[in-house]
């Protein structure tokens, strides 16, 4: 008896899923090097994925920055360390909360959207129609979306970080009077190379994970409307889990090398 057969069904399915995502990633890189890329579709997807997530990212970013500031302020006041507030909030946002939260928002919005769109294309045989017309459906559908998410998630994270700091500034000024110059001097002045580079680097991996998982789940959706719903759901759950795993790995690597 194989070892895998002794595992529970759900675990077997999960492992098959992970192996499938790994295989898809390998196909993605093979296709990238073989080309040609569908440039127009990459731009189209980047616009769709980036622009359409803007409102959600703005709202969550602003609220998180503001809430973090309001929650932290009383504790720092007890120690007379109020002046540390901008620095503390900016480091937390730029190193951790901005990237992870934006990636999770994108996993929910973009990942599920990709899963559902490709899932419905699969069950209505549109993907098969592309294949039999002699077009490279993987290149058109998967490669373009994965490149778009890999490029747009970092941009959205950068934007969300900026909006969060605005939210934080508003939070500070609800019960105080701190000038913009002072707030940004303190918050950005506290950042160093090792805060920014790993935080930016991991967002590319977040974007890649969201794209490749959304595409894999969508293209492998089972027949029927339930299949499409399940594909969208799995895309969100698995990519959210991957985001935390990538984040953990990024933290470990940062501590090792920087």
């Amino acid at each position: 008896m194989k070892i895998t057969e002794s595992l529970p069904d759900s675990l077997q399915k999960f492992l098959i899923n992970i192996a499938g995502i790994g295989r898809y990633s390998a196909l993605f890189f093979r296709q990238i090097f073989r080309g040609p890329l569908e440039i127009r579709e990459i731009i189209n997807q980047s616009y769709k994925l980036g622009y359409q997530s803007l409102f959600l990212v703005t709202t969550t970013g602003f609220i998180i920055g503001m809430v973090m500031t309001l929650q932290t302020k009383p504790t720092l006041e007890q120690f007379g360390a109020e002046s540390w507030l901008p620095a503390m909030v900016s480091i937390s946002i730029i190193r951790e909360i901005g990237p992870v939260l934006t990636a999770l928002v994108c996993a929910g919005k973009v990942g599920s959207g990709i899963g559902a769109e490709l899932g419905s294309m699969k069950v209505t045989e549109q993907i098969d129609a592309m294949t039999v017309s002699g077009a490279n459906s993987f290149n058109y559908l998967v490669v373009s979306r994965v490149i778009a998410t890999s490029l747009m998630v970092p941009v959205l994270v950068f934007y969300a970080d900026a909006v969060s700091l605005i939210g934080s500034y508003v939070g500070v000024n609800l019960e105080g009077d701190v000038s913009v110059q002072l707030f940004y001097h303190q918050s950005l002045g506290a950042l160093v190379f090792s805060d920014i580079v790993p935080a930016v680097a991991k967002t590319f991996f977040f974007g890649f994970a969201i794209g490749i998982i959304g595409c894999y789940e969508g293209v492998n959706a089972s027949k029927g409307t339930t299949g499409v719903g399940n594909a969208a759901n799995r895309a969100v759950v698995i990519s959210s889990m991957f985001i935390f795993v990538i984040d953990l790995m990024a933290v470990q690597l940062t501590q090792l090398f920087i």
Partner: protein, 244 residues
């Protein structure tokens, strides 16, 4: 001996241990319209999906236009082969995020020797004219009726000028009048472009209009063969169900 359009020998295919096709043999002559008849779930669609390599058969040989399709592995070879074999899906399978024009453009823009824009325009115009829907260019598939959807899907398939057409239940879900129109359109296109066709259907009117020859699948193999008139006059009670 003249090369066959399609030659299938001993084709077997099963799913989850359940054998659906148990040894299918048939030849399609050039310029012929072969109608494949059978109850739902007997593997009619599986058969034509094996021919375009959307499904890998478990066993058997498939030769299309002199090429053994098992020898096609590289993407480029497969794509080149598939451009010679058009496939009309049951639901039309129009790309619903694209307009009709973009649907037509899609396969042309991905040809290895991409035609210039004038040529693409000319071919789109001709394809839409063929199906009588020139004024739908800017429409989205969701704005089209079921019959229009099928016509556009047919136009999109024919735009690559395939030598063989595979139709997967082309009239399913359509009212009798539209169904008859589509059947006549299939015949018209076959005559115009001198193609060979395999038509999967259980619409007897469509079979009567389009078939040069018919084959009937029963229990995973072809059990009956003949013209529409031959089969309709047979005494077999199982077969009679189709014609009543």
């Amino acid at each position: 001996m003249e090369e066959k359009a399609i030659s299938v020998t001993g084709l077997k295919k099963g799913f989850d241990g359940n054998e659906i096709l148990k040894g299918i043999d048939f030849d399609l002559e050039k310029g012929e319209n072969l109608v494949v008849l059978g109850k739902s779930g007997v593997g009619k669609s599986v058969l034509i999906k094996c021919i375009v390599k959307l499904i890998e058969p478990d066993d058997g040989d498939i030769e299309v236009l002199g090429t053994d399709i098992r020898s096609l592995h590289k993407d480029d070879e497969l794509n080149e082969y598939r451009r010679k074999v058009g496939f009309l899906f049951q639901g039309g399978a129009l790309y619903d995020a694209m307009t009709v024009e973009e649907n037509m453009r899609f396969p042309l823009e991905r040809l290895p020797n991409k035609p210039d824009n004038d040529e693409i325009e000319k071919r789109i115009e001709e394809a839409l004219e063929n199906v009588g829907l020139e004024d739908t260019r800017k429409k989205m598939p969701a704005e089209l009726s079921g019959g229009m959807n099928k016509r556009i899907a047919l136009a999109r398939t024919l735009i690559l000028q395939p030598q063989i057409m595979l139709y997967d239940e082309p009239t399913t879900g359509l009212d009798p009048a539209t169904s008859k129109e589509i059947s006549h359109l299939i015949l018209e296109m076959q005559d115009k472009y001198k193609m060979s066709s395999v038509i999967i259907t259980h619409d007897m009117k469509c079979a009567e209009i389009t078939a040069n020859r018919m084959k009937v699948i029963k229990d995973g193999v072809f059990a009956f063969e003949g013209s529409y008139d031959d089969l309709s006059s047979k005494d077999d009670p199982w077969l009679k169900n189709f014609f009543e």
